[in-house]
């Protein structure tokens, strides 16, 4: 039974080792430092300043306080128009 399952054991180990290798590399290279800053990576300054029609007045006010003047959005900012 074990011999017949050998291939699966080896494959699982191989896939696991790849993940483990990534993890070790990440730890050694400081990939898990400054997580708050990393979370902002997808956002440009302009993204933070777009007027979002769905936001409540208080959310909008908060955005102005945090990021300054708000800018007019275009359809493409939301991936089109509904």
């Amino acid at each position: 039974m074990l011999a017949a399952s050998g291939v699966l054991i080896l494959l699982s180990i191989l896939v696991g080792i790849v993940g483990f290798g990534f993890l070790v590399w990440g730890l050694l290279n400081g990939q898990f430092d400054e997580l708050e800053a990393q979370a902002m990576v997808p956002l440009d300054e302009e993204d933070l300043r777009l007027l979002r029609p769905w936001e409540t007045p208080s959310q909008c006010e908060q955005r102005v306080r945090d990021h300054g003047t708000l800018l007019q959005a275009r359809d493409s900012d939301w991936g089109g128009r509904l």
Binding site: D33, P42, W54, R65, L71, G79
Partner: protein, 479 residues
């Protein structure tokens, strides 16, 4: 970079342009395959109502068009669209131009040549006889390995020349996918397996292709677009990393739960069930993170097509994962195994989750690649409601029908025919749902033709790089 550390919009445009050709090529191929796959999926479904339809013509028999549907959807639609998303997303996230873009374009063409050959061979009656691995391993698969490898090399090369130190969680998922998938595809297609080994390797591949390929890149897109549209970071970046690493370590053993009840070593199936249950950790981490990121801003779904598709896709990810965990339990599997429940379950994964995320991503990316706005809000609405309604009816129908079918199969007092009768009405629901889904795909494809043909700025500054009017002034003393 701007004084605040954000990327200059002009440079962002440069990065987008660097992957324009291969990404567009991938998206066009994806949509063509989506239409082909929809047609054969719908025909295959209607064969349950009309078994003799086209049966005399061998290429259109059930045994051939069913794998044609599966392979066009997985390696044509989903894989092509995911390559397009990756080629566009990675340069943006690592602030580096896409390296070797022509090489990536050639890779996409080679992949498609291999897929066309493989599909034609399936029509001709030649396939490898393993689920998700039907494409011919001699005449078709090498093209996919070389083509996919070329795209992967371009992406890895771009990562190596990045100008940012940290890799955002989306990049982890994409980088992981491009390393895991070649290992899976090569080992899945290795011809030396026989008997139990073959079944084990088959499901090792098929389930991991769903996880480490389709799920990985789809989650990468979700983690990018939710913050992007909402204009706020993901709820907990720590939780997103926990989700990724627990996914990376627990997922690979899940596949054997497809073989519950088969002549497999018990320990192997039990290990797989345990690993499947362990998936609660990454799934919960991802679900909490996505939900908490959107909470308080669900109104955005009324405005943003991208967010509407992506949020529903993210909800479907949670649903399909929890459904998968329960289905992996022996007592549940006893009823659902060998029934149409499984087909419904796989469509929650590949359609409600992966396809919806890819639709949402393409709505955001294509206007930027073509420098044009989507021409019609009405067509986006039609696309959404047809696909949402279609897949909802499809999944509900097959899930209910599958349980009735399974219970009838388990009842020794009932004949096999009774199990067929129990599921038959639900298969009709499935066929009509397939028609509705196909109509949605036609609307989407037509809209892409319209955006392509519409007049836009071909050169110079992209529309979204032009200065925007300020509409709300900051109060005194604020920034």
């Amino acid at each position: 970079l701007t004084p605040t550390g954000s990327l200059d919009p002009r440079l962002r445009g440069e990065l987008d342009r660097s992957g324009r050709t291969p990404a567009l090529l991938a998206f066009v191929a994806a949509v063509l395959w989506l239409l082909v796959g929809s047609f054969f999926g719908t025909v295959a479904s209607f064969k349950f109502q009309f078994p003799d339809w086209w049966q005399a013509w061998a290429p259109m028999s059930m045994g051939r068009i069913r794998p044609v549907h599966l392979n066009t959807m997985i390696y044509g639609w989903a894989s092509m669209a995911m390559l397009g998303v990756s080629l566009w997303l990675v340069p943006r996230l690592v602030n580096a131009r896409l390296r070797w873009a022509p090489f990536a374009s050639l890779g996409i063409l080679i992949w498609n040549v291999g897929l066309v050959i493989g599909i034609l061979l399936i029509f001709a009656g030649r396939n490898d006889g393993l689920e998700w691995l039907e494409l011919d391993r001699v005449f078709s698969d090498p093209f996919l390995v070389i083509g996919g490898g070329m795209v992967g090399i371009a992406i890895i090369r771009t990562l190596l020349t990045r100008v940012v130190k940290h890799l955002y969680v989306s990049v982890w998922y994409i980088a992981g996918a491009f390393v895991w998938f070649p290992i899976l595809f090569l080992t899945g297609n290795y011809p030396g397996f026989a008997g139990i080994e073959s079944a084990a390797a088959n499901w090792f591949y098929a389930h991991n292709a769903l996880g480490f390929w389709l799920t990985s890149i789809s989650l990468a897109a979700v983690y990018y677009f939710i913050p992007k549209i909402l204009g706020r970071p993901i709820y907990s970046y720590q939780l997103s990393l926990l989700g990724f690493w627990s996914f990376a370590f627990f997922y690979s053993l899940n596949g054997m739960h497809h073989l519950i009840g088969g002549p497999m070593p018990t320990w192997m199936v039990s290990t797989s069930i345990v690993a499947s249950v362990m998936m609660v950790i990454p799934v919960t981490a991802v679900a909490i993170n996505h939900h908490m990121s959107v909470i308080g801003r669900f109104g955005a779904l009324r405005y943003s097509p991208t967010l509407r598709f992506i949020v529903l896709g993210a909800i479907a990810y949670t649903a399909v994962s929890l459904q998968g965990i329960f289905t992996a339990l022996r007592e549940v599997s006893r009823v659902t195994h060998f029934t149409h429940w499984t087909i419904g379950h796989s469509h929650v994964g590949v359609y409600s989750f992966v396809t919806f995320v890819l639709f949402g991503s393409m709505y955001y990316i294509l206007p930027r690649l073509l420098n044009r706005e989507w021409p019609s809000a009405r067509l986006i609405g039609w696309h959404f409601w047809l696909t949402f309604g279609g897949i909802f009816a499809y999944v509900v129908g097959l899930s209910i029908g599958g349980v009735y079918q399974g219970l009838a199969l388990l009842d020794p007092a009932q004949t096999f025919e009774a199990s067929v009768r129990a599921v038959a009405p639900w298969l009709t629901v499935r066929s009509f749902s397939g028609l509705v889904l196909s109509a949605g795909h036609l609307v989407f494809a037509w809209h892409i033709v319209l955006i392509y043909r519409s007049r836009g700025k071909e050169a110079g500054m992209l529309a979204w790089q032009e200065p925007r009017p300020i509409i709300v002034e900051a109060p005194e003393g604020v920034r």
